[in-house]
Amino acid sequence: MKQANFSKLALKALLVRLRNPLNMSNENTLLSIKDLHASVEEKNILKGLNLDIKPGEVHAIMGPNGAGKSTTGYVLSGRDGYEVDSGSATLDGEDLLEMEVEDRARAGLFLAFQYPVEIPGVSNLEFLKVAVDAQREARGEEALTSAEFLKIAKEACKQVNLPVSFLKRGVNEGFSGGEKKRNEIMQMILLQPKLCILDETDSGLDIDAMQVVANGVNSQRSPERSFIVVTHYQRLLDYIKPDFVHVLADGKIVKSGDASLAKELEAQGYSWLQAEPTEDELED
């Protein structure tokens, strides 16, 4: 009996390792996505996504429109209407997919939106304070006083080159595209997440604005904090240097490499992806 049990366990361990060849030790993985399938309005978007990210790493996810790049961020953050059909995603070993949206944020996940929503009537400062308080409470830290918070909020404004007066305005209300993106980065600076997903943060930005955003991101790089930089174009990666580049096509990663892969994609475009039939199509 003992022997049988042992062999079952050994087999299980082997299977885990086979499914997860890049990640030798689970303890050292911040984010682990395994065979993730997800759909929106019954349309399959993610079709077996695998990704492991260690603390301190910067991963770029590139790919054509409709590949599932934004969906990845929405599924991980728990947006309504994004259904997980199978697979798993863990952050620091905790099952992300079972958590409420706010608990994922409190566990250290941050999504910088491609289109941050405008919320008139809710002041940016109040919103940021409530968010930071929630984050601190989750970490077992005491809430900041209003004066303490105002001080760090002003500093964060400075870091992303936003006038302090923006704190008094409604959340993103009447902000330009670039200002909204900078406001996202400011939130990231204040919330100090473990994993940041930047969803096409470069879209709609000119070079100067992109540099401000990239500087904000780079200032937050640390051995403990990881990033997923989702982008359609290579140019953002000139400013935020990735450790790994993945190509997402039709809901799964079809190619991974180092920063040079981004250059390759820039030269070749994504058309080569469509030239080869996908696995699904082969199965059909």
């Binding site: 706010e102 994922r104 968010a131 939130q187």
Partner: protein
């Protein structure tokens, strides 16, 4: 006819103050009027039981009452207690006068809708007339206080005449201690190129009956910016009438209501575009909790000659309980062909995208809902031109709002 109205008429009949003639027309109309019922369109959702049952009396002697203080503001105070004028502002700025007048009629308003306008005609004891001389800008805010002691009945009327090129800021402040009944009407004439910044706060105890309205007549290039903020009560009814009587006049009306318990709040907003080239923008937002009821009727009437009118009416409501009720009805009557007119009325849910956005920042779902609901009305508070008033009223609204949420 209701017993309450019979008593009101009897009282008016018995007043011998030398102004009987001025009261006669309204009194005659009132004696003939049909007491509104559920079949009366203007009172369809607002039953008058609370009036019929009211035991509020005309007090011979009233206690001394003080209006609420507002940090950072010193008002010119025009104060009524239980319907009697008790104080006029001392040291009026140059160009501003306040006099007492014997009687005035709500001549331009349909009597059927304004049965209480007629009641006010015959029972308002002291009618104050405020005049701003031509071209004078009065910086200090004038506050009209309608204070009612417990169980008192009072009827007030103020007429404000802002001459050409002049400007005035007025706060109408109603504070009823409880079980009181009031009718309160103000009439404004805003002269050519004159401006009025106007507020009406009805933030009183829940067992009051308060009926009244504001009548704004705008002459050429006049400008009105009005904010109305009300809690409900046993019966809270406000009729606003905006009459564009001169070309290029501009009117903006923001209104907020926040209802709890079994409260009732009814806002009837009527706009008459009688001449061309005028603009109106109305933003009405309300939140109804518990088993309260909100009634909104927004009518915009664009007369045949009123070409190039721009008019927008938007009413948005949030329901915070299954038992709360909102009756909203925008009415557009357009007889001119070259106008831009938009209206919308919604009973909204909280914006899901905004909710998700806040949650992704770690804000709990319940707190995010609270922030967004409050933000929905706070957006209009942000637009109040006098910041001190916004800062004063914001925490009052927030307090009530958090009490509503607890239930």
């Amino acid at each position: 006819m209701s017993e309450w109205l019979q008593q009101a008429i009897a009282r008016a009949d018995s007043i011998q103050d030398g102004f009987e003639d001025q009261r006669a027309t309204s009194l005659a109309l009132l004696k003939d009027i049909k007491w509104p019922t559920r079949k009366t369109e203007a009172w369809k959702y607002t039953p008058l039981r609370a009036v019929e049952r009211s035991a509020a009396i005309f007090k011979e002697e009233s206690p001394e009452l003080e209006p609420v203080a507002v940090e950072g503001l010193e008002f010119l105070e025009l104060t009524f207690v239980d319907g009697q004028l008790v104080s006029l502002p001392e040291d009026l700025p140059e160009g501003l006068t306040i006099e007492m007048q014997e009687s005035s009629l709500f001549a331009e308003i349909k009597p059927e809708r304004h049965v209480f306008g007629l009641v006010n005609d015959v029972l308002a004891a002291d009618v104050a007339v405020v005049t701003v001389a031509e071209g004078v800008a009065i910086e200090q805010l004038l506050r009209i206080n309608n204070l009612l002691s417990n169980g008192a009945q009072g009827h007030i009327r103020v007429i404000v005449d802002i001459k050409a090129g002049a400007s005035l800021k007025v706060v109408e402040n109603a504070e009823g201690q409880g079980a009181s009944l009031t009718t309160a009407y103000t009439e404004y004439q805003i002269g050519a190129e004159a401006t009025l910044e106007h507020y009406r706060f009805a933030l009183q105890a829940a067992d009051n009956v308060a009926i009244g309205g504001c009548h704004f007549k705008l002459l050429e290039s006049a400008s009105l910016n009005s904010s109305i903020i009300g809690f409900g009560s046993d019966l809270q009814r406000i009729d606003t009438d905006i009459i564009h009587a001169g070309e290029k006049a501009d009117a903006k009306l923001n209104a907020i209501y926040l209802l709890d318990g079994k409260e009732l709040f009814d806002l009837h907003a009527n706009v008459e575009h009688a001449v061309p080239n005028c603009t109106t923008e109305e933003n009405i937002r309300g939140i109804a909790g518990d088993s309260s009821r909100a009634v909104f009727n927004g009518r915009i009437h664009i007369h045949r000659d009123a070409q190039k009118t721009l008019a927008e009416l938007n009413n948005r409501n949030l329901l915070m309980s299954d038992k709360a009720e909102i009756n909203t009805k925008p009415e557009l009557e357009i007889y001119a062909d070259d106008v831009r007119c938009a209206h919308g009325a919604t009973i909204a849910e909280i914006d899901k995208k905004a909710l998700y956005y806040l949650q992704t920042r770690g804000v709990s779902r319940s707190q995010a809902q609270l922030m967004l609901s409050f933000g929905f009305i706070n957006e209009l508070i942000d637009q109040m031109p006098t910041a001190e008033l916004a800062e004063w009223v914001r925490p009052i609204i927030r307090d009530r709002f958090s009490q509503m949420e607890v239930k």
